[in-house]
């Protein structure tokens, strides 16, 4: 018996995948040229799986802001905000996020993962209940686990099921935090947020929404699904990430509840980690400004998303959700998804391969994420690659 024994099953799976000659878990990106272009194993490749929704990673203003911060504030903070203090940029970004959401309170975290870990572990303690949508992200499960609250699940996107399960709790429903995502990352399907808020509040529960995959995409100002459904003021806590639409790294929580400020003092993932580095804060602030000032980015993103979704639907691919910036194609077996994913990479298109148990309902997915930075020609190339491979598969099946 060794502490390494538990890795045996993982190693066996890893070897099985390696034996296929396809390696989806360690794709080397030799060079990165823009928000949508890279060189992968020596081949020019279109990035269509990096969640770079607004294409801001190479935005001139964002890069300039980051370079200026590096020069003026150095490479890092070398410690937590509790120990080393809050830089002006941390405080400014928190104020800007609060203003963007029209609430009084915001906290910045060092990663998006830590935002959920830090918020949920502090908000829901051992006497509380968290009711999760079954398809919530791992960071949400981990945050709940760290806080030690009682974790219950309701069926994905099913407000009636939430109602039934909150009803079972009786008076304890009032001690419950209902946690959902605006858009779910695997399939790109969005939550019926208005219905969920209505049910939760009827039972006296609070609502927490992760807008990681909806910031910059939904709503009149781009703040997410809660805004799009006109119920932002009904949501108690909104969290999100800087690593997708804002093209940086980090995360945040905002709330109309003044108690959010107490989370800082009760959140181990906030207290015991280095604060976000100044250059990342600077690029994030510039990106948040661009998000608000350039709604045409959102228009272009949706145009690209709808083009790909329409083309794949017409070609007969089975897709996981209505049109949106995540376009997930469903396959019957892991092998089919694996070889399709490799086929796309061979044609210079990088997307994500998602397999069970990381996926809901055991689905095998080839997941594309669109960007405002994709040109019409790049979308044409992505569509051609999918259709060519799809035809090959059909021909092979017939032959």
């Amino acid at each position: 018996m060794s502490i390494f024994d538990k890795f045996a099953a993982i190693a066996a799976t890893r070897e099985r995948i390696a034996a296929t000659g396809v390696d989806p878990l360690g794709v080397p990106v030799d060079e990165i040229h823009s928000a949508t272009e890279a060189v992968v194993r020596g081949r020019p490749t279109i990035l269509a799986g990096s969640n770079n929704y607004l294409g801001l990673t190479f935005d001139d203003d964002c890069v300039a802001a980051g370079v200026a911060a590096l020069r003026s504030e150095g490479t890092g903070t070398t410690g937590s905000r509790m120990a080393n203090g809050s830089y002006a940029g941390h405080l400014a970004l928190e104020a800007e996020l609060a203003a963007f959401y029209g609430v009084g309170h915001a906290i910045v975290f060092s990663t998006g993962y830590q935002a959920n870990l830090g918020m949920l572990s502090a908000l829901a303690g051992s006497q509380d209940i968290v009711m999760l949508d079954a398809d919530c992200h791992a960071s949400i499960y981990d945050g709940v686990k760290l806080g030690g609250s009682q974790a219950l699940r309701f069926r994905h996107n099913d407000a009636a099921d939430l109602d039934k399960r909150l009803g079972r709790l009786g008076e304890r429903a009032a001690d419950t935090l209902v946690v959902v995502e605006g858009v779910y990352s695997m399939l790109g399907d969005r939550a019926p947020l208005a219905a969920i808020c209505k049910v939760a509040h009827r039972h006296g529960a609070l609502v927490y929404v992760d807008e990681a995959h909806s910031l910059g995409i939904y709503g009149e100002t781009g703040s997410g699904v809660a805004e799009d459904e006109g119920i932002r003021e009904q949501v108690d806590f909104i969290v999100g990430t800087f690593s997708k639409s804002l093209g940086a790294a980090g995360g945040y929580g905002v709330s109309r509840h003044a108690e959010l400020d107490m989370v800082r003092y009760a959140s181990r993932p906030y207290i015991f980690t280095a604060s976000p580095v100044p250059s990342v804060i600077a690029t994030t602030r510039a990106a948040l400004e661009r998000l608000q000032a350039a709604p045409e980015l959102r228009t272009q993103l949706w145009r690209n998303a709808e083009r790909l979704h329409a083309a794949l639907t017409e070609a007969g691919f089975k897709l996981g959700a209505p049109p949106g910036p995540v376009v997930a194609t469903m396959f019957d077996t892991p092998e089919a998804a694996l070889f399709f994913w490799q086929g796309l990479l061979d044609q210079g298109v990088y997307v994500n391969l998602m397999l069970p148990p990381a996926t809901p309902n055991g689905w095998c997915l080839v997941r594309a994420s669109l960007s405002a930075g994709h040109s019409d020609a790049q979308i044409d190339h992505i569509i051609d690659a999918f259709l060519t491979l799809g035809r090959s598969e059909r021909d092979a099946a017939v032959g």
Partner: protein
């Protein structure tokens, strides 16, 4: 309140629909190693059991569960 036998019977019936192949489902069957369930399937099964027993079952019970008997005992404690 549901007792051990009731919960075992409900779980056995449910496992029959979750488990692929012809594995024998017994109290000492290990959910992962013997019955081939993964973490997502186990959580789905807990949700199904909540509906069958009309009770709330926190996921917190799962880390200590390895066998069918472990799970039935954990659910019996929650039901008590």
């Amino acid at each position: 309140m549901a007792n051990y036998d009731t919960i075992y019977q409900e779980l056995h019936t449910l496992l029959e629909s979750h488990v692929k192949g012809r594995q024998t489902i017994a109290p000492d069957s290990r959910l992962v190693d013997d019955l081939g369930l993964d973490s997502m399937q186990t959580m789905e099964m807990v949700m199904d059991m909540e509906d069958r027993l009309d009770m709330s079952i926190p996921l917190n019970v799962l880390p200590e569960v390895q066998t069918v008997d472990d799970l039935v005992q954990a659910l019996t404690r929650v039901a008590a």
